[in-house]
């Protein structure tokens, strides 16, 4: 039950405890936060299992870990470790250029990234239990997260307004299974919980996506690349709960020190953008 909560990237057990103390609902255990992965370049892979286990031992909240897109053996290893969720993540270097992991083959729930409704529904049909928009990880720039969340929600509203006989073509255009398209049109929401990731770096960013319609947020580099991680973590948690109360948002935003520096989107060459990974 992660809804309405904040999931934080952590690289050490100490980080994990800071996140738990701040009120995170889960932590994402990884060796490097996305901004460092971006800086380091090379091939980014699943974290060392002993590092994931160290974090699982440090906190009582759920622990997630990332597998490469399509790398079902990394997922098998993470499931064997007993992680609470697997993130099939574009932040790592994809292992398969056509296929995602068949998530129905696992007992552990998966979270997957998307940029639009079609991608979200393809991931749900593969068995994802949770969706997050990808944003552009490691940038500290919320613009992509906002664009993708608005895209997904607008596409859902568009489906909900369609006649039944228009849904067949809609499914074709979204490249998503008709049954899922029909269900979204009928219910007006995704069949699974819908979080936002990639670029959230202040309490105001978190409240922005919550007001637009996110059900919770992932914060990656935004916490442990800021000047005072414990305060930033706590402030983002408070802002996610009180996203609709500007007075409280003002209070929790005071004196947090410098957020992570951030990168404008135009400064990232097309080939280095992470959000385009996934099919």
């Amino acid at each position: 039950m992660l809804k309405g909560g904040v999931i934080m990237d952590v690289v050490t057990p100490d980080h994990a405890r800071i996140a738990e103390d701040a009120g995170a609902v889960a932590v994402m255990a990884l060796e490097r936060v996305p901004s460092d992965i971006r800086a380091a370049g090379g091939v980014a892979r699943m974290s060392d299992p002993s590092m994931v286990e160290g974090i699982m031992a440090a906190v009582s909240i759920p622990v997630m870990a990332k597998a490469r897109i399509g790398h079902f053996v990394e997922a098998q290893i993470l499931e064997a470790l007993g992680v609470d969720y697997i993130d099939e993540s574009e932040v790592l270097t994809p292992a398969d250029e056509a296929n995602h992991i068949d998530k129905h083959a696992f007992k552990v729930p998966f979270v997957c990234g998307c940029r639009n409704l079609g991608e979200a529904l393809r991931r749900v049909s593969e068995g994802a239990a949770m969706i997050r928009t990808k944003g552009e990880a490691g940038t500290g720039n919320v613009v992509e997260a906002v664009r993708q969340l608005r895209t997904v929600l607008a596409e859902i509203r568009r489906l909900a307004a369609m006649r039944d006989d228009e849904l067949f073509v809609a499914a074709k255009e979204l490249q998503a299974p008709y049954e899922l398209v029909q269900r979204v049109a009928r219910e007006g929401v995704l069949p699974v919980v819908n979080f936002v990731a990639g670029g959230i770096s202040t309490p105001a960013d978190a409240a922005l996506v919550m007001q637009i319609g996110a059900e919770g947020v992932f914060v990656g580099s935004g916490i442990f690349k800021s000047e005072d991680p414990a305060r930033m973590a706590n402030a983002i948690v408070q802002a996610t709960t009180h996203y609709d109360d500007p007075k409280i948002l003002a209070e929790v935003s005071k004196g947090l020190g410098a957020p992570m520096r951030g990168i404008p989107l135009e400064a990232i060459p097309e080939g280095e953008r992470l959000a385009v990974r996934g099919w």
Partner: protein
């Protein structure tokens, strides 16, 4: 009459929708002032660790305790059950020790062991309840003043009541189950307007102004 739903984190919107489906007004509770005028409160599923910190950060503990002491119904699901228990495995400090029970957090293991099951809740009638268990707690011990409302086939306790406090280890609100919410709404209405047993209502055959 309106029922508060603690909305600091978790699956609170599902409780709001369940109450709406049976025609009961709700208010989302994030600050103490949101509790004014509520006749009952739901503590929803979520991460109890995160919820506990938000409850304390915003000073919700004392006003919720006062609401419970007034006799208003308090209904906790999953993490809400943990928040209501007097003892929590691992020696964690209780939050609202209103139920004389011991609970074990994540009793069915980590996220891998979420499941659904059907079982009887005799108090709610003959139709079984479909329970959704997600990182669910379990009641290890129930004190003498606690009514056990439901057990799994293996005998483990998954729903309890002690006076005005009800808790389930599972999520009725995720399974389209409304009977617990109807019960809470009825208890809240009786809290607002005590009827039978309160001595305030006259027997219809009694004449006004004359004590029998």
């Amino acid at each position: 009459m309106k029922i508060g739903v603690l909305a600091v984190q978790g699956a609170f919107i599902e409780h709001v929708r369940t109450f709406r489906s049976i025609g009961v007004e709700t208010v989302e509770v994030r600050l103490p002032e949101h509790l004014e005028g509520v006749s009952g409160l739901v503590l929803p599923g979520g991460e109890s660790t995160a919820q506990r910190r938000l409850i304390d950060r915003w000073g919700l503990r004392a006003p919720i305790e006062r609401l419970a002491e007034s006799g208003a119904p308090i209904f906790g699901t999953c993490a809400g059950m943990i928040l209501l228990s007097r003892e929590i495995s691992g020696g964690e400090e209780p939050v609202f020790p209103l139920l004389d029970v011991s609970v074990e957090r994540n009793a069915f293991g980590r996220q891998l062991d979420s499941f659904e099951a059907d079982f009887d809740v005799p108090m709610l009638g003959t139709q079984p309840v479909h329970g959704v268990f997600i990182r669910a707690p379990i009641v290890d011990r129930a004190g003498p003043d606690v009514d056990v409302l439901a057990r799994l086939d293996d005998g483990r306790i998954v729903a309890v009541r002690q006076r005005n406090v009800i808790a389930t280890a599972f999520h009725p609100e995720l399974a389209g189950e409304t009977r617990f919410h109807r019960l809470v709404a009825t208890m809240a209405a009786e809290h607002d307007d005590p009827g039978e047993g309160s001595g305030r209502r006259h027997h219809p055959t009694r004449r006004a102004g004359r004590s029998a």
